[in-house]
């Protein structure tokens, strides 16, 4: 094989996060010369999934400020838990659930990459209800999001059910006449106000609906909120009864990134981990870039694709707390629809003001907790991984810790589960747009959203067009991410034996 520096690469991709990896997948049958590097020793960049030891090493290097994406990372282990088997865990840095209506899934299907990912069902969404006068114990209430679930709910009064149904029906066709007339005037004001003024939803139902938007700050606009809820409702039942979203086994997006890189490698791309870009050298002609890698090799390429280093405007930051607990909580993973698969993920929302931080101040923003059972392959049987997320603030770490405690006291268990391991960090979101500067194409980082945001797929598509020569014909574009099975991988006659 020619050495790295003798080749003129069509593209150098730096970083193996989901956007870059999807680009590698998209190019995997293109016959382009591709060099895919990552300064880290692991795949996935900010979408990676870590064993405990990897997480500790990672946290040690991200403990200080300065990293553009992650900061303030720290690990806390319960006493006597030094003996945890590091490799039995796979903790996701940026765990997204993926709505079944997502374009990402249809691209994974048409590119055949889905065959190598095992998708698990995301089941019920719950609301945390603090202990109140009549209820001594805090509780979790399941959110009904289908007509049938509203029907079966025993806690919503008849009138409220009708109001909720009217809203759910409205959302299904919210983007056509005459529904648009109803919401367009309120497009940029908070959804919560719209729900009250137009649908007379009571406080509790508004919280339900708002939770389904998965809006981090709980202040989704009417325009965005309706879009999110419509996606949730139309996703429900699409791949089978009882679930609206899926989660890839063994670590979420990181797993998809690895599968996509594997496709790139099978297609002939060269992969180098632990190698980043030292600097871009001014090049003589306009035809190519000279890139000095961290291993001191200088290479030539027509294009460089990397993730953006520019901070978002305005800066979005979230606090994340990932906790391993020593219990499985079956009540969160009940099959509530006949014929549905057993879910592996449950989502619990803590509405604003439902917990107090360490110094007694009520939380101002919602907290979301994604509970992953051991079916996700992220922890051993009998344990669960909890991913808590809330917008970053001076009190957010304390609020997350309080939420964790409140959650553990709200679940049905004979003895309260204990936390055996926890990882705290803060993450900032990059710009949502891509940019092309000469021969450098910058992709956005993964979004901070809780549900996978299809918005990153478009920049990947744009990057692909750049590699393919800038202008691609409609015919070629039609075939984007559409591949046939490679030999020996397809349906064969023995499917049913």
């Amino acid at each position: 094989m020619e050495s790295l520096s003798d080749t003129t690469w069509d593209v150098v991709i730096c970083g193996t996060g989901l956007p870059q990896s999807l680009l590698a997948l998209a190019l995997s049958r293109s016959d382009k010369k591709i060099l895919h590097v990552d300064p880290n020793e692991y795949y996935g960049s900010s979408d990676a999934a870590f064993s405990l030891q990897e997480a500790e090493e990672w946290a040690a290097s991200r403990g200080r400020a300065g990293d553009s994406v992650f900061s303030a990372a720290s690990v806390t282990k319960a006493d006597g838990q030094d003996a945890l088997r590091s490799r039995a865990y796979s903790l996701s840095l940026t765990p997204h659930l993926i709505h079944t209506r997502s374009k990402l899934l249809s691209q994974l299907v048409s590119s055949r990459a889905f065959r190598q990912v095992e998708f698990l069902a995301v089941g019920s969404f719950f609301i945390y209800k603090p202990a109140s006068g009549s209820d001594a114990k805090p509780s979790l209430a399941r959110i009904p999001s289908t007509r049938e679930a509203v029907f079966m709910s025993t806690t919503i009064p008849a009138r409220a059910k009708r109001a909720l149904m009217k809203f759910l029906k409205f959302v299904l066709e919210y983007d056509s006449e005459p529904q648009t007339e109803t919401w367009k005037p309120h497009a940029d004001t908070p959804l919560v106000d719209f729900l009250e003024s137009q649908f007379k939803l009571d406080d509790e139902l508004r919280t339900y609906v708002l939770t389904l938007t998965l809006s981090l700050d709980g202040r989704a606009s009417t325009r965005d909120g309706l879009a999110m809820i419509q996606r949730h409702l139309t996703s429900m039942g699409m791949f089978g009864p009882g679930f609206a979203a899926v989660y890839p086994k063994w670590g979420g997006d990181g797993e998809i990134a690895q599968v996509a890189c594997r496709a790139g490698a099978v297609g002939g791309a060269v992969y180098m981990l632990g190698t980043g870009i030292q600097q871009l050298k001014p090049s003589d002609g306009d035809e190519e870039l000279e890139i000095e890698l961290t291993n001191d090799v200088t290479i030539k390429s027509r294009l460089l694709v990397r993730s953006s280093e520019a901070p978002a405007d305005p800066i979005q930051r979230v606090s994340r707390l990932t906790a391993v607990i020593d219990a499985h909580i079956p009540s969160l993973f009940e099959v509530v629809t006949e014929g549905a698969p057993t879910p592996a993920v449950a989502v619990i929302a803590f509405p604003a003001a439902s917990v107090r931080s360490g110094d007694g101040v009520a939380s101002e923003l919602p907290v979301y907790v994604a509970v992953h059972s051991s079916d996700t392959g992220e922890c051993p049987a009998g344990q669960s991984v909890l991913y808590l997320t809330t917008p970053c603030s001076t009190t957010s770490k304390s609020v997350l810790e309080q939420c964790l405690k409140s959650f553990l006291s709200a679940v049905d268990a004979q003895t309260a589960p204990t936390v055996v391991y926890q990882l705290y960090y803060e993450q900032s979101g990059g710009p949502a747009n891509s940019s092309l500067n000469g021969r450098v194409f910058e992709l956005p980082n993964s979004s901070l959203d809780l549900s996978f945001n299809d918005a990153i797929l478009e920049p990947v598509h744009q990057a692909w067009k750049q590699v393919m020569g800038g202008e691609v014909s409609e015919e070629v574009d039609e075939e984007y991410m559409k591949f046939k099975d490679r030999e020996g991988m397809g349906d064969d006659d023995n499917d049913y034996d």
């Binding site: 007509r147 049938e148 029907f151 009138r159 009708r162 006949e338 014929g339 499917d495 049913y496």
Partner: protein
């Protein structure tokens, strides 16, 4: 390995090939990829025994055990073979029929417990088919047949009316518009009450629960005809109870009137939220007529005004069935004339 039977079986294999060629006539039932699997299975079916199987042992009981296991294997393998065909052509009569034949063979050839296991698995398949297509006519009919067999003495069975009734509820929980499930529910109720040995009070409770259920459903799906048909079924159990078994044979006349009035009030309350759905007006008129028939009282002028209003809404909301509303109008005019004449 020596296969002494192989030569003797040659004619069967030739016959099988003939069958496969003949089957080309129904090739549209199969996609190509099933074709050679089918071929292989046909050979297996026609040979019926592994030709290399050892000679029968001296002890007949041992032989019977070996034989039974062999039969069970053949039958299970055939049942397994037709599952993908069924998933591909879930409305193909003869695949369902063929499975029933195989299942019947388990009763002929296997111990009761063994046969029962096979039939229980078949109930699982029926559920799976209904998860895939909630309204599949064949699958619902097939389910009733499998359940009847599982209940029968042939398989040492006992009544399954309670779990089947529960199953209809689960299917309604998946999709309220599943008329097949509501229908099956209506068919199970008389047996259910008999087997529970329900007395008058228990029957009244049952009716109450059932009305609650469908009212809850109507709260969220008032445009759904399945729900109104089922509500109508319960109302008929209350109002039209002579000469046939009903849920509540022992209600007094005044109790029946009370029930009807309560349901009319419920629908009027629904109107507050859903005033543009024709089914509400249709039900209001139907139950009002039931009430006259029960009480034998002609409607009062103010009631008539209400009926006219409902009827006009219906004529506007549902012009497709104009003939039906016109017939009702004639009936109403006639009643009004008689009423004023009295």
């Amino acid at each position: 390995m020596e296969r002494p039977q192989a030569f003797a079986n040659l004619w069967i294999i030739i016959k099988t090939i003939g069958w496969v060629l003949a089957l080309e006539g129904v090739a549209d039932f199969f996609s190509d990829r099933h074709y050679h699997t089918l071929f292989r299975r046909l050979i297996f079916l026609f040979i019926d025994r592994d030709p290399a199987r050892p000679e029968p042992p001296d002890n007949w009981a041992d032989w019977r055990a070996v034989d039974q296991q062999n039969d069970a294997d053949v039958l299970r393998s055939e049942l397994g073979f037709t599952i993908p065909l069924l998933l591909e052509s879930p409305k193909c009569y003869w695949i369902w029929k063929y499975r029933l034949w195989l299942l019947q063979e388990t009763i002929e050839r296997l111990d009761v417990q063994m046969a029962r296991r096979v039939w229980e698995e078949e109930l699982g398949l029926a559920s799976k088919m209904l998860t895939k297509d909630k309204r599949n006519f064949h699958a619902w009919g097939y389910r009733r047949k499998v359940v009847a067999k599982l209940e029968s003495a042939e398989l040492d069975g006992k009544s399954m009316v309670e779990p089947e009734f529960e199953y209809t509820y689960k299917m309604i929980g998946v999709d309220l518009s599943n008329f097949s499930a509501w229908h099956n529910r209506s068919k199970l109720i008389p047996r259910l009450l008999d087997e529970r040995g329900a007395d008058a009070a228990a029957r009244k409770d049952f009716l109450e629960t059932e009305l609650n259920l469908v009212r809850e459903a109507l709260n969220v799906g008032p445009e759904d005809q399945s729900l109104w048909f089922y509500h109508g079924f319960l109302m008929r159990e209350i109002t039209d109870y002579t000469g046939r078994p009903t849920i509540t044979p022992n209600l007094s006349e005044s109790e029946r009137e009370e029930y009807v009035c309560r349901e009319i009030d419920f629908i009027k309350d629904l109107l507050e939220d859903y005033d543009d759905i024709k089914w509400l007006y249709d039900a209001l008129l139907e139950y009002s007529v039931d009430l006259w028939n029960l009480t034998g009282l002609m409607p009062q002028p103010d009631e008539l005004d209400e009926y006219w209003e409902w009827l006009q809404r219906l004529q506007k909301l549902d012009p497709m069935r104009k003939g039906r509303w016109d017939d009702f109008e004639m009936m109403l005019r006639k009643s009004a004339r008689e009423s004023s004449g009295l």
